[in-house]
């Protein structure tokens, strides 16, 4: 049984991010694994050995509300991360799980300190489609954000963009081509919404790592998966063709 923890969906699921969980659970099911979802909306976190922690994106006010709901369980979340559970975070959910957020007035708010990153809100806003590569595979999405995120230490981006805005809302690729972050088990992206549906190769890479930590072998060869992935590939190719036109 794969145990999944979804953090603060009421505050952070503005734009299709919950689709990522649908994708993960469907792909696990297609690969023959059961999964169980626990939704955290505040209060205490039960003592469950979570395998995956997910948090979506949303409005700034929603993210700050979520941050305060999560502060009381900060140490538990850090312990879950240190125990090797996979984290997959999107947009502002990632920002509040980072070290700090500095707003436009220069006020710094401490994040939960789980991700090796810190963000600074920007006057400029990125809102457009983008494409790049994850482990050599075409990866596409929609960026809609207004902050520059700096990766700390030796953390590497999840995706390398060829076109569009990644971790810097003020400077696009190729000057700043890094998008998201990836450490051993902490993954995050700013690509909106159902990034894992349109980019199932990222979902599968995440699930391979997640399962290997449990000494399980994840392999996706179900007919349903193959059909979904063909559609998603066409969606990515259509987007790239339009952006390079």
């Amino acid at each position: 049984m794969i145990q999944i923890l979804h953090l603060c969906p009421k505050q952070l699921s503005l734009n299709g991010e919950t689709g990522n969980l649908d994708v993960i659970r469907h792909r696990l099911e297609w690969a023959g694994f059961d999964s169980e979802l626990y939704v955290f909306e505040g209060g205490e976190l039960p003592k469950i050995d979570f395998d995956l922690v997910f948090i979506g994106s949303g409005a700034v006010a929603g993210s700050l509300t979520a941050l305060e709901l999560l502060r009381p369980i900060r140490l538990q979340l850090i312990e879950i991360a240190q125990n090797g559970a996979s984290f997959f975070s999107v947009g502002l959910g990632w920002e509040i799980l980072g070290h700090s957020i500095t707003d436009l007035q220069g006020k710094l708010t401490e994040g939960l300190g789980i991700y090796p990153s810190q963000s600074k809100k920007t006057e400029t806003r990125a809102s457009e489609e983008c494409f790049g590569y994850f482990e050599g595979e075409l990866t596409t999405g929609y960026a809609n954000h207004g902050s520059d995120i700096e990766l700390l230490g030796d953390a590497q981006p999840l995706i390398l963009l060829e076109k569009g805005f990644g971790n810097f809302s003020s400077v696009p690729a190729p000057t700043h081509s890094g998008e998201g972050v990836r450490t051993a088990n902490l993954w995050a992206t700013r690509l909106n919404g159902p990034v894992l549906a349109i980019n199932p190769h990222i979902a599968d890479a995440l699930l391979v790592e997640l399962c290997s930590r449990k000494a399980l072998t994840y392999f996706q060869d179900a007919a349903e998966g193959s059909k979904a992935d063909d559609y998603a590939r066409s969606a990515r190719e259509e987007l790239k063709a339009r952006l390079v036109r």
């Binding site: 009421k10 505050q11 699921s13 503005l14 734009n15 299709g16 991010e17 919950t18 689709g19 649908d22 994708v23 469907h26 949303g58 409005a59 700034v60 006010a61 929603g62 700050l64 509300t65 806003r125 809102s127 457009e128 489609e129 929609y142 809609n144 207004g146 909106n192 919404g193 159902p194 549906a197 349109i198 349903e224 059909k227 979904a228 559609y231 998603a232 066409s234 969606a235 259509e238 339009r242």
Partner: protein, 422 residues
Amino acid sequence: MRLLLAVLVGRLVRILAKMRGGGSAIPGRIALIIEPAFLKKTLGSLKHGVIFISGSNGKSTTTALVAAALRSQNLKVFSNPSGGNMPQGIASAVIGEANLRGELSSDVAVLEVDEAYGEILAKHFLPTHVVLTNIQIDQLNRFFEPERVYGMLLNAAKSATASVVINGTDANLRALVGELPNPKVAISVSATDDALRYWPEGALAAPRFGDDSESNELSIGAQLLSLDGDRAKYALHEVEVELKLPGKGLHFALDAGLALTLAERILGSDFSPQAAAQGISNQETVYGRGEIAKFDGVEIQILMMKNPSSMRATLLAMDDPETSVWIAMDEGTPDPSWIFDIDPSRIRSVRVVSGSRCWHWATRLAYSDIELQEVIPSSKRALETYVQYLKSVNKRGTLITNYEQMMVIRKLMGYLDLETGK
């Protein structure tokens, strides 16, 4: 002189645009270049002033219902067509109705106004009343987050010289009224628990975070007492009013409540609730909100999807969920992420998905239990395929589409007047 020239050139461009079968905003854009004060000069002196109707969803329907309610009271109403809700679209509509001197023979203007343009229009001329339908998750690629829409609508509401009428079931709008400077008459449309019974998701408002003062007292407007299909009953102060909505759904009932409330506010003691109810009941569906298009011997109901809220409302109110539907979307929806936020299970099967976002929709459906027959990027070929299917099963079809694909497909079906939907 400039006004005369603006009307003349605008009319000429309008004729040319119609011959091409599109471009409804171009005449207005040109008129505004010739005479930047075009809107103030043409709309600024109507007897009952100008009403702005804005919000995330329901603007077109509410505009149509308010116009119907006011016409039922024997007022001459000027209004802009569905979708023409930015300054250039409104100016185009004025060109269509004003005389050569730019004069309108109307008592009142009821204007559908884009969320971002209320505060901009208010710099040209102040609205008498501002009606706000809701703040929902909408066009995030453009507005980024609902809080920005809140700020835009607040500024538009502040410009109202007489009153602000809101859908009081929307937490954001209640908070917004709390920020209006006094004195400002704010009127709220509400709904009883009984009326909300069949709509457990409510009116699908965007979530509200943070502290709200709600300091301003709201006057009570129409209260929705019950809702059964497309029949709605309201209490309007001491009077009970029953009417037929243009379609099924709580959103339509709230829109009609706003229309009743505003008409009463404008007419005062001369207001006839029964005449207003009759006027609203006779109002046909706004185009793209359930109209039936006829093409090649088949009928296709057209339902527009703008955002998750309108899509959910569309799904809940679908006439025949058994019909295999056609879904069309292109990059006029720049970020289709939200399609993963709606539960499409009310659609039993999808015959075809089309438009450049067809692959996004196909992927979405692949993660549901809904059967998908064909993916056809070309709108023309999708129309042919769908019509052939409808003929084979002898059924009316349902097209769920974004605005841009709706325009493309309507044109393919021979509906050339894109302004009025005729």
